[in-house]
């Protein structure tokens, strides 16, 4: 069963207006937070075990704790780039409940002592941008943003910054570069953004859902938040289920629920006449799971890590047996080749090479040694680069090849797909 | 190591050696009169010896499909030459696909030792040691062969095609 904590009122159209929001959920948690000690809020977030909902799963409270105490202005950046293929949960929140995000951001900003925050939203989300801009204006008009919010003495300004179509700008240092007006390319770490980030000042970058969840930690308290979820993965999370299911969509479930329940019950299961073949658990950058593994695993960070994959951003892509895995890998490799920023050599050249290798298989021109080459190239792209896009490209290639090797070998030997029976010679990926 | 046979006894005398030589000449003459085909000598210039395809003779500069010189003036042949007989001057070509070509390529064949190192060094099959070995010159003639003589002399009938074509290589994407 779904557990609607964040998404409780998403089905009510008035929830996106300020008046509707105040009626149903209200800005009372903001008022409550503004009376608390900011350090206590950070402690609470740490104790509640909120982990970053953008993909990395880094404990949010710990990240906030890295900020130095040197009196410098600090910035809060909301990562609404949502570039991970298969993820569309942040879009839902921004379109249905923009004030939820805004309230969560003001509380977080108060906790870390930031006077200015930005929402970096991807340029393709036209509808969300429109709705967010309207909501921001409403918040400013109502005195919830700007000087002396709710008579607490806390000033805060919030702005929207629109991206321009680069997946790499979802990486935190690339987002900071893009915000500074430079090319959206990641920066070397160290120094970390919490020490030297936007305009060389301490910066915290958090996902949309993480920031919105802070409101519910304030509302329900640490124990109330920990009511759902497991010991190490606390709380609820929105999952975007897509692919070959009967009811694709966004579902909020407590962490720890089994994937079988999520796919088969909540999302309606596989279409009749087909069988489950594979599941990508957390966005295309995570290693794929075979059907058996998928039906046994739970949706939390530890269980996924045990199987060698990640919970990631929560994009569950369900694949049934009518799909050719080689073709799917070709789509993914084309994506990473297109989106690599080109700064460091292993990623820039390696994504291109992987793309060409997989497409040569699809055209029927590959040899058996090319499969070993895919393994070699992927292994040497991992952990060698400035950011994780290189790992994100290499991990699907390695896992697809390992778990569905028979399909690849068939394609190389026969020159056509085992499933579809045809070769993708005229691929238009 | 074997010792050379030392003269001893009768062969110390003068006349027996002469008779031995004359006897050898006589027997060979009679053999050759009755067995023309077994003669080891050739009636040059009517009969010529067939050298192997690997014979290192006069240099040939190969050409591309359109007749222009294949050489890219990389100077590897000049560097490798043990006799330092090759002089090259490079220049910029207007076609960016070609980019570099020699405006001067001279081989001083009197210095050349016909070792074939230049042919081995060339990465694009531009210089080869051809099969010709009849290259006489009168006193005062020029033994500094330039591009005209190396690539386009009459014997080559317009130029020998190189086996490495850049256009094919570029189209294959390498």
């Amino acid at each position: 069963m779904e557990t609607k904590v964040l998404s409780e009122h998403y089905d009510k159209p008035s929830f996106k207006t300020l008046s509707g929001y105040k009626e149903l959920s209200g800005y009372e948690d903001l008022a409550k937070a503004l009376k608390m000690d900011p350090k206590k809020i950070i402690e609470d977030v740490k104790a509640a075990g909120l982990r970053g909902r953008g993909g990395a799963g880094f404990p949010t409270g710990v990240k906030w704790g890295f900020l130095p105490d040197n009196g410098e202005p600090r910035y809060l950046l909301c990562n609404a780039d949502e570039g991970e293929p298969g993820t569309f949960k942040d879009r839902l929140m921004m379109e249905r409940a923009p004030h939820q995000l805004i309230e969560g951001m003001i509380i977080s900003a108060f906790a870390i002592g930031s006077k200015k925050s930005y929402i970096y939203i991807r340029g393709e989300y036209n509808e969300s941008i429109r709705i967010l801009e309207k909501a921001l204006k409403e918040a400013y008009d109502d005195g919830l943003l700007g000087k002396n919010i709710l008579d607490s003495g806390f000033d805060h300004d919030m702005d929207i910054y629109v991206g321009a179509g680069a997946y790499i700008c979802g990486e935190e240092t690339a987002m900071i570069s893009s915000l500074e007006g430079l090319k959206g390319q990641p920066k070397l770490k160290p120094p970390f953004p919490a020490i030297e980030g936007y305009l060389k000042k301490p910066t915290i970058v958090n996902n949309v859902e993480s920031l919105a969840a802070v409101k519910y930690i304030i509302r329900d308290g640490v124990d109330g938040y920990r009511k759902y979820g497991t010991e190490k993965s606390a709380g609820t999370k929105l999952f975007s289920v897509s692919g070959n299911v009967v009811k694709p969509g966004n579902y909020e479930i407590p962490l720890g629920m089994s994937m079988k329940e999520l796919i088969m019950d909540i999302a309606g299961g596989i279409k009749p006449g087909r069988k489950l073949k594979a599941v990508i658990p957390g966005g295309s950058s995570t290693p794929i799971l075979t059907a058996e593994e998928a039906l046994k695993v739970d949706m939390d960070y530890e269980s996924m890590a045990e199987l060698g994959t990640f919970l990631g951003s929560g994009a569950v892509i369900v694949i049934d047996d009518s799909n050719c895995m080689v073709d799917l890998l070709g789509v993914l490799m084309h994506f990473y080749h297109h989106e690599s920023c080109g700064q460091c050599t292993p990623c820039r050249e390696g994504t291109g090479w992987l793309n060409k290798l997989v497409h040569s298989i699809l055209k029927g021109e590959a040899k058996m040694k090319d499969l070993e080459l895919i393994n070699g190239v992927s292994n040497h792209m991992m952990g060698r680069t400035i950011c994780a896009l290189s790992d994100a490209a290499a991990m699907p290639a390695l896992s697809f090849l390992k778990k569905f090797r028979d399909e690849f070998e068939y394609y190389v030997k026969e020159g056509r797909s085992k499933i579809k029976g045809v070769s993708y010679a005229e691929v238009n990926h | 190591m074997s010792k050379a046979p030392q003269p001893s006894g009768l062969s110390n005398w003068y006349l027996p050696g002469i008779f031995k030589g004359l006897w050898y000449t006589l027997t060979n003459m009679i053999k050759n009169i009755f067995n023309r085909k077994g003669m080891p000598t050739l009636n040059y210039p009517e009969e010529k010896y067939n050298y192997s395809p690997r014979f290192k003779g006069s240099h040939v500069l190969t050409v591309k499909k359109d007749g222009s010189l294949r050489c890219t003036a990389c100077m590897l042949c000049a560097t490798n030459c043990p006799a330092q007989c090759i002089t090259i001057e490079a220049s910029e070509h207007e076609d960016p696909e070609v980019e570099k070509f020699p405006i001067k390529y001279e081989i001083d064949v009197l210095r050349c030792v016909y070792c074939g190192f230049c042919e081995e060094a060339c990465p694009v099959d531009a210089v080869r040691m051809g099969p010709e070995w009849q290259t006489p010159g009168l006193a005062g003639s020029n033994f500094n062969y330039d591009i005209q003589k190396l690539a386009y002399r009459a014997n080559l009938k317009g130029g020998i095609q190189s086996s490495l074509d850049d256009k094919e290589r570029h189209e294959a994407g390498i």
Binding site: H337, C344, G352, W353, L357 | A73
Partner: protein, 516 residues
């Protein structure tokens, strides 16, 4: 001063240094492309991988601060494998251009493949095609396919020349270095990007295709283009000088030199030089060796100069060494000559400085000249010399002419003006057609040696620098000291100036040449 251990040996570096600087200090081999000691850290080539004890995985050496007690190795099998694959990634889209590329012989990819790569390439997919032979202005040609996107040139135009013309366009493996809208790259330090480019992507139009680098020897000297005196390396062989590149000197020029200094080899080459002494006696020009000419001068003029020493003038330019000034002024002082003049066509710009390297005074040794003259009778201006020649006050004039004619716009007019003297002796290294237009019936042109052919000291604006003899271009020329010795009737001593041959660094293939 943290001490760290690299590959088993301890080394001490200064505070704030990175591990790669420690490697360089110890002369240990480490593969790298994007790091340059004079530029900021980019960390994009990912080749300088090291194993740090206690760290999570391999780190890059250029961005890891050296800490006390760190233990670092780069000799493990894993690191060697990583570097091999790193070289592989750099080379998979690199075009097969070695025969036509100028960088062959000093190419970063060639050298580091031989040291760290040595693998069998497995890429048989079509390579990415980009633009070739792109004209980037009047000095540089760009080849985007060869570029390995190390971003050294971009960082140079951002941080050193601060003109910010270069950038990297497009994304992923379609990235290309270039200027916005193909605007020309015309700043005064642009040719440094050609030096720092590790591959043949940026090549200098001046040097392009003129000579293969393994045919060139190189030696250090000091640039004589302006009073800064950047340390440079000149490349030469028996056909002459071919190019000039900067040498590192912490106090004078750092890692860079300006573009004007790149042309200083041109006036030293044989085609621009005066090869033999020339004499004009009113009706015709005759050639003779320089030594014979000086002996003639000794016989004809030496005593005249001694007796009429007040009617003799000497014009100096700031392009000779301190030792030559000392010898010349001493010689003339002993003859009683007191009129020394200074000829400097760039005198009004003497205090110009563009805050980086270029100074307005285009003579390398004006300070040395003035310091030496202060020990004698001081220097008067050139205009006084011309006036004195015109009025007849001076009838014998010795001129120590400059060798860098390009920065003397009044060269020809000064020649003609001073040649109005009765006896006109011109010591110069270069030849021009304008020498025909002499007004004196007793003209001597004596060939001088260029700065490359002698040892000496220049007192530049930043430092007093001693430089050594590089090579001989014109054997028949004299240094000013030798000319003065001959003028006094003495004989000069010749030394056999042979030196051990210094070529580009050998690798393990060339060093084994000749052995079985």
């Amino acid at each position: 001063m943290p001490k760290l251990t690299i590959n088993g040996t301890e080394v001490e570096v200064k505070e704030g240094a990175t591990v790669i600087e420690a490697f360089k200090k110890m002369n240990e081999d480490i593969a790298h492309y994007c790091w340059h000691p004079g530029l900021s850290i980019a960390g994009v080539c990912r080749l300088c991988m090291i194993d740090v004890e206690g760290a999570r995985g391999p780190q890059i050496a250029c961005n890891t601060l050296a800490k006390e007690g760190m233990v670092v190795t780069n000799q493990s099998e894993q690191i060697k494998d990583i570097v091999k694959w790193g070289m592989d990634f750099h080379l998979i889209n690199h075009p097969l251009d070695c025969p036509i590329c100028d960088q062959a012989g000093e190419c970063g990819l060639q050298e580091q493949y031989m040291k760290f790569g040595q693998y069998d390439p497995e890429m048989d997919q079509p390579k990415v095609k980009k633009r070739k032979v792109v004209d980037l202005g009047e000095k540089i040609v760009l080849d985007s396919e060869r570029c390995i996107l190390c971003s050294r040139c971009v960082r140079f135009t951002d941080e050193v020349s601060k003109t910010k013309e270069l950038g990297i366009f497009n994304r992923g493996d379609r990235s290309e270095v270039g200027t916005f809208a193909d605007k020309p790259l015309n700043n005064k330090y642009s040719l440094n990007t050609v030096d720092i480019c590790p591959v043949g992507a940026l090549t200098s139009k001046d040097f392009r295709f003129r000579q293969r680098v393994w045919y060139l020897k190189n030696d250090d000297t000091v640039c004589n283009g302006c009073s800064t005196g950047c340390n440079v390396k000149v490349y030469y062989n028996e056909d002459g000088l071919f190019r000039v590149t900067p040498e590192y000197n912490e106090d004078v020029n750092g890692y860079w030199m300006c573009d004007e200094g790149r042309d200083i080899y041109k006036f030293a080459n044989k085609d621009q030089r005066l090869l033999k002494a020339k004499k004009y006696d009113g009706s015709s020009w005759q050639e003779q060796t320089a030594g014979k000419a000086m002996q003639e001068l000794h016989h004809n003029l030496f005593d005249d100069v001694k007796t009429n020493c007040s009617k003799v003038g000497v014009v100096f330019t700031g392009q000779y060494t301190n030792e030559e000034y000392a010898d010349a002024m001493q010689t003339f002082k002993s003859l009683g000559v007191a009129s020394f003049f200074e000829w400097n066509d760039t005198a009004e710009n003497v205090n110009d400085f563009d805050d980086l390297l270029i100074r307005g005074d285009k003579n390398p040794n004006t300070k040395g000249l003035q310091d030496e003259a202060a020990n004698h009778s001081g220097l008067k201006k050139l205009a006084d010399a011309i006036a004195a020649v015109n009025s007849g006050q001076i009838d014998t004039i010795f001129v120590m002419a400059p060798e860098n004619i390009a920065v003397y716009p009044n060269y020809q007019s000064t020649y003609e003006a001073l040649s109005k003297a009765k006896n006109f002796i011109w010591f110069g290294a270069n030849k021009t057609d304008g020498f025909e237009k002499t007004n004196s019936q007793n003209t001597y042109l004596i060939p001088m040696k260029s700065y490359i052919e002698k040892s000496g000291t220049f007192s530049g604006a930043k430092a007093i620098q001693k430089f050594n003899y590089v090579t001989t271009i014109v054997a028949g020329a004299l240094t000013l000291s030798e000319a003065m010795t001959l003028f006094q009737g003495k004989e000069i001593e010749f030394e056999l100036r042979s030196k051990p041959m210094k070529t580009l660094k050998n690798n393990h293939f060339t060093s084994n040449r000749g052995k079985l």
